[in-house]
Structures are given as structure tokens and as C-alpha cells.
Amino acid sequence: MVYESLIAIVESHLSDLTKTWADEVRKTTYLETYKKLSEAELTRRGNTLFSNIQNWLLKGATVDDAETYFYKLGTERFKEGFSVTEVYYALHLEKKVLWSFVAWKDEISGILEANDAIEFMAIINNYFDLGDFNIIRGYMNELYSQLKDSKKFDKKELESIIAGGALYQESNKEIGEKLFSEGLSIDLIK
């Protein structure tokens, strides 16, 4: 029941979910590397994110496909020069957007029973925890591969490989505020 409902929400709101995520990405000053992407590319990536969770649910929430997908994502983002914290935050935004749609759908239709709400959250969390872990695996593995292939490991070289700017934004409070659920509460997203 919960799986079916979640699939239905993603399926019927795929373009809205994608658009909301892309809007959130554009609004934040933290996701500088994502903002360098064209509108079409950002939308494509957003669509892929939500389509992937839909496929994962349709296939019975098995580990293999999602694990492979996120591992590859971590590797690719490394090669593209994203900082890992930026990728992590983009994934966090996706979860917030998805959850906001689930909560909103419930508000207008009252579809969620108490246990359903907990199960919804558990499923969504499992997916994103899996994503978080495998993105880092992919990212770190690629970091290692590149360092291994290089002859020297001085600071400048390392920065050029892994930093991407965002790690140094100590004064950037936006990320903190959003993770503290002030700027990106369910109500605000909706």
C-alpha cells in the first residue's frame, strides 16, 4: 500500500518534483557547481534522480540497482569537479522535495494513516541513506584512483582534484540554515 502510494506520487508528479528540485538548486548559493549547468541539463539530472527512485520502488526496493546508480553518480560528480558536500546537499534537497510532496498530498487527501507516515519516511530514508553512502564510496574511490595515478600529492594538486570550492565556504551560513530546517521547511517548499 505504502509502496504503491509512493510510486503513484512520484509518477504523477515527476515533472513537478523535478521542477521544484531544480528551483531549489537555483535558489541556493551553496550549489555553485550545479548552477553552472544549463537549464536543460539541470532538469535532466533532476528528472533522473526522481525517475530512479520510482524505478527502485517499482523493482521492490532492491539494493543492487540503486547502489550501482549512486556509486556511479559519486564517481561522475568527482570527475566533473563537484565537491562531495555539494553532491550530498543536492541529494538532501531531493529528499526534502520528495517528502514535501508526500506531506502535501496527505494534507489535501488525508491518505496517510499514522503507520503509513512512518513507513513512508522509513522507505524514503532508506533510499537516501543508500544513496549517501554509495555516492561517497564512488567519490572516494575516484579520488584515490586519480591520486594513485599522479606522481605528486602537493596541496595545490589535491585542491584541484577534490575541493571544488564548496569545502572552503566556512562563512556560508545558508547550508547550515537549510539543514536546520529553517529556510527549507516543508511549508516553504510547498
Binding site: A103, F133, F153
Partner: protein, 181 residues
């Protein structure tokens, strides 16, 4: 509401830290954590819950948790933990937390979904915040370490980043992620 939520955490800490220790000892994945004494291991888990409680008391807005997890990330790097292992530890702590909370009785009295979804969201944010800042602290420490090349050789890097944890063939899917606490 936040005060009420922090009470829930405080009331569960003793039990949760015991479960945490058991989970660490059972896990094949948390090899680095297992090199620490029971006392040290408990402290590591307890600190995450204590900061959750404080974070809630301050209205889920203080920056102490942010600073704490940045520091944890840096420390774990220096202690030679693979980053994935630290994330898995946070995942376990979150699972333990969710399983210990009796939402219906303790959060709302009579369980109301609208409140529950908001409350779950607040708790989730905390663990996301933890992972984010741990990752940031960890990577910043990598960069600091490279300031002094003598402290960090190619073999050190290999040892840190691989250690079996990043190799897909060596990750036990049965143990990982879907093994619910």
C-alpha cells in the same frame, strides 16, 4: 514542542547507547570503531544523541551541532576512519533512534499524522546535518594534512581510502543498509 522532543531523546539515551555498543560489536563493517574500548565507543554514540537533545532545546537552530560534527569529521580522519564507516555509524545511530521512539504515545499523545511528519522531518534534518558536517570536516582535514607532505605518504593515502571499505567486492550487502537494527 522542541522541549518535549528533547525530553524524548534524553529519556532514551541510556538505552540507545547500549544498543549502539551492541550494534558496533556485531557489525563486520565497523572495523575501526571496534578497535576502541567499550567506554570510548559508547561515548562516541552518546555524544550524537546528546547533541541532538541540545539542538532540539535550542529550537533546532544552534550552530553547536554544526561545529561538533565538523570537529568529529576532522578527528575521524586523523584517527584513520574511512569516511564511509563514519557515515554508516551515523546511519546506525539514526536507526537505533527511530526504533526506540514510540511515536504515538510520546510525541503527540494521540498520534496525529500532520505532527508526526513534521517531527520526523526535524529529526531527519539533524542526522543529515551530522553527515554533511562530518564530510566537510573530514575533507578539510585531508587538505590540511597535505600541507605537511612528510605526514602523509602515498601509502598512507592508499591505506586510508581503500582499507577494503571502498572496494565494491568487499562490501557485504546483507550487512549493509538494509539490515535493520
Amino acid at each position: 514542542m522542541n522541549r518535549n522532543l528533547s525530553d524524548i531523546v534524553d529519556n532514551q539515551i541510556e538505552e540507545m547507547k547500549k544498543v549502539w555498543l551492541e550494534e558496533v560489536r556485531k557489525s563486520d563493517y565497523l572495523k575501526t570503531y571496534k578497535t576502541y574500548s567499550d567506554e570510548d565507543t559508547i561515548k562516541k554514540g552518546e555524544a550524537v544523541y546528546s547533541h541532538l537533545s541540545e539542538w532540539l532545546k535550542e529550537g533546532a537552530t544552534n550552530s553547536e551541532a554544526e561545529k561538533y560534527f565538523d570537529k568529529v569529521g576532522a578527528e575521524r580522519f586523523k584517527q584513520k576512519f574511512p569516511l564511509t564507516e563514519v557515515h554508516y555509524a551515523i546511519y546506525l545511530l539514526k536507526k537505533i533512534f527511530w526504533n526506540r521512539i514510540d511515536w504515538r504515545d510520546k510525541v503527540t499523545g494521540s498520534f496525529e499524522t500532520a505532527n508526526a511528519t513534521k517531527i520526523m522531518n526535524v529529526f531527519n534534518d539533524y542526522f543529515d546535518l551530522a553527515n554533511f558536517h562530518i564530510t566537510r570536516g573530514y575533507f578539510n582535514e585531508i587538505l590540511k594534512t597535505f600541507d605537511d607532505e612528510k605526514k602523509f605518504s602515498k601509502e598512507d593515502l592508499r591505506s586510508l581510502l581503500i582499507k577494503g571499505k571502498l572496494n565494491p567486492e568487499e562490501v557485504d550487502d546483507d550487512e549493509f543498509i538494509w539490515r535493520h537494527v
